[in-house]
């Protein structure tokens, strides 16, 4: 085991009956890393997590953890924690008993158990709620119990499946910070699933973007946000002007547009180019467009332009002079800002 592969998935293929949900997935995760699994609904995030936890049998490939092949190790012997989206607290047990459940199964008793449970509750700020039943707690509190219940087990990896999606916006932010704190304090390796790119960007050391059971891109939040390598990731992180390239020419609804001299050096080999709306320059530039739509977004204003490229979305500061529907405008897609895409799908 090298440092870079505390948890590694090797050519992991997962299926429900004959339908393959995850195909040939390779992923190496460092000890103590916080990984976000990002992707659209149905791309196989939950499936992957369940396989790591041992709840779903592996069709082929391997799961290795801390130097051991755990592909066939049963779920209750893996030292992998999973926090469910629904929290999955035991309704008949008190908060205290929920947190102590796994420790008791380990054979822990008496003061050792009591100390552990109490410090677990304390770390999530629920010391005063030890005797409540889960039904008597708010969503955020239930979430904390679930977190404490997993964490007292000192798992090698903690998996979280959309941990924040059931919470309202404010609580979400609070729990986000909480998760980060617990992760930093304990140094536990964490993988969390999310739909929400902002959450992934804010929390993760590295982001894994999945699509239809495959990894589309792995990278730091900066990589994913600024340097998407495929049109899919670009679209997912908010590049709204995405165009395929063919021999350095941009394919548009109006045919091929020559961009030679307009591309930075590495780009001509790219399969496509992408710009965020904010990267589009209005008022100067070589291209012609007509305003088709406009909307005010507080600090900024968005324009939808009709152009030889097809529709272009631009976002400029709200303080700039406004343009009316039907106005003709020049604009630029600045080459130095473009994200070159190596795959266009």
């Amino acid at each position: 085991m090298s440092d870079a592969s505390y948890l590694s998935l090797e050519k992991l293929t997962l299926a429900y009956g004959d339908s393959v949900a995850v195909a040939n997935l390779d992923l190496n995760i460092r000890k103590g890393e916080l990984i976000a699994l990002l992707g659209p609904s149905g791309c196989g995030k939950t499936t992957t997590m369940r396989a790591i936890a041992g709840l779903l049998p592996v069709k082929s490939g391997h799961v290795r953890l801390d130097g051991a092949d755990i592909t066939r190790v049963p779920a209750n012997k893996r030292a992998v924690g999973l926090m469910f989206q629904s929290y999955a607290l035991f309704p008949h047990l008190s908060v205290y008993e929920n947190v102590g459940f796994g420790l008791k199964l380990k054979g822990m008793r008496g003061t050792e158990l009591d100390t552990k449970v109490k410090s677990g509750l304390k770390s999530v700020g629920l010391s005063d709620f030890a005797n409540r039943k889960p039904a008597e707690l708010s969503g955020g509190q239930q979430q904390r119990v679930a977190l404490a219940r997993s964490m007292v087990m000192e798992p090698k990896v903690l998996l979280l499946d959309e941990p924040l999606s059931n919470l309202d916006a404010r609580l979400r932010l609070e729990m986000r910070t909480e998760l980060q704190r617990v992760q930093k304090e304990t140094g536990v390796t964490m993988i969390f699933v999310t739909h929400d790119q902002a959450e992934a960007l804010a929390l993760a050391d590295r982001i894994v973007v999945m699509k239809s059971g495959k990894i589309e891109q792995i990278g730091s939040p900066e990589d994913i946000y600024n340097r998407p390598t495929s049109s899919f990731v670009a679209d997912f992180v908010g590049f709204e002007n995405i165009f395929p390239l063919e021999n350095g020419k941009m394919k548009t609804s109006a045919g091929l547009i020559d961009l030679s001299g307009h591309l930075s050096s590495g780009a001509p080999s790219a399969a496509g180019l992408a710009w965020r709306p904010r990267m589009v320059t209005l008022g100067t530039g070589p291209f012609q467009g007509t305003v088709r739509g406009t909307s005010f977004a507080g600090d900024s204003r968005e324009y939808l332009l009709d152009s030889a490229f097809g529709p272009i979305k631009a976002e400029v500061e709200a303080s700039r002079p406004t343009h009316a529907l039907g106005d003709a405008l020049v604009f630029d897609l600045p080459a130095e800002k473009a994200a070159p895409l190596s795959r266009f799908v």
């Binding site: 709840l55 779920a75 924690g81 999973l82 469910f84 999955a88 035991f90 796994g102 199964l105 219940r149």
Partner: protein, 260 residues
């Protein structure tokens, strides 16, 4: 008040009268001082209530009924809980068909079940009457057990079992540690419903009685054919109050009506 607005209260009163009326008549008749079962009762006494406890065959058949109701229901739960669990947790092919078949005896008349058991099980295989009764009552109660237990299992999220497994429990351990405690109310309700159903069962038991082996309701019918005194009414009243007491306690402590 118009005729229209009187319609509903009157209907309601009639329904109550038909439901409760016979019961009140029986209760009144049990306190009669007369020699025969009659209404209105002649005088007031507790002699028939007292007599119930002296009739030897009542005692024997009460024991038998109690044994069948407790044993049969327990057996039905032992079979029914795992069956319900499998039906609700695993998307087995044909699960719906199994559910329907298991529930069938609720719809099939008891007479037919009793006759079938007698003709095709008891007679050909020389099964003893007590065993036959036990099997019959288990089979009778099973559908109720499956229904009630299934209902409470369907209300229980299945991810808590996975959570238990990830905390170190085995699958079977998870069933006993987190499933059973959470469907306890359903199981108790199924037990009470099964108990009452079995205890009051006549048609099936009618076919399955032998020398000295009878359930209480069948014994009461036999008794009435010979002696027409108010002790049968007295016994009925006692049984009715027993049932009401059980259901009342169950509702009070378990919220019984949620499951039935």
């Amino acid at each position: 008040m118009t005729a229209r607005s009187l319609f509903i209260p009157i209907t309601l009163l009639l329904v109550i009268a038909f439901l409760i009326g016979p019961f009140l008549i029986i209760v009144a008749a049990s306190f009669s001082a007369g020699e025969t079962l009659a209404f209105p009762p002649q005088g007031f006494s507790l002699r028939w209530i007292a007599k119930v406890f002296t009739v030897e065959s009542f005692r024997a058949s009460f024991g038998m009924s109690l044994f069948l109701a407790i044993g049969g229901t327990a057996a039905a739960l032992v079979l029914g809980i795992p069956a319900s669990y499998a039906l609700s947790r695993y998307k087995l092919p044909g699960a719906e068909i199994v559910r329907t078949v298991v529930s069938a005896p609720i719809i099939v008349p008891g007479i037919i079940v009793g006759l079938a058991l007698l003709r095709y099980i008891v007679v050909p295989f020389q099964v003893g009457i007590t065993l036959a009764l036990f099997l019959a009552h288990t089979a009778l109660v099973l559908p109720y057990a499956v229904r009630v237990v299934s209902a409470s299992l369907d209300n229980l999220r299945s991810d808590i079992e996975e959570a238990a497994v990830l905390l170190g429990s085995s699958r079977l351990g998870a069933f006993f540690r987190v499933v059973m405690p959470n469907i306890r109310g359903g199981i108790m309700s199924a037990f009470i419903l099964g108990f009452v159903t079995s205890f009051n069962q006549v048609p099936v038991s009618l076919f399955l009685s032998g020398p000295g082996v009878r359930t209480l309701p069948v014994d009461m019918i036999a008794y009435m054919e010979i002696v027409f005194d108010p002790s049968v009414a007295a016994l009925s009243s006692l049984l009715a109050f027993l049932s009401i007491g059980i259901v009342f306690i169950a509702e009070r402590f378990l919220g019984f009506s949620r499951y039935v």
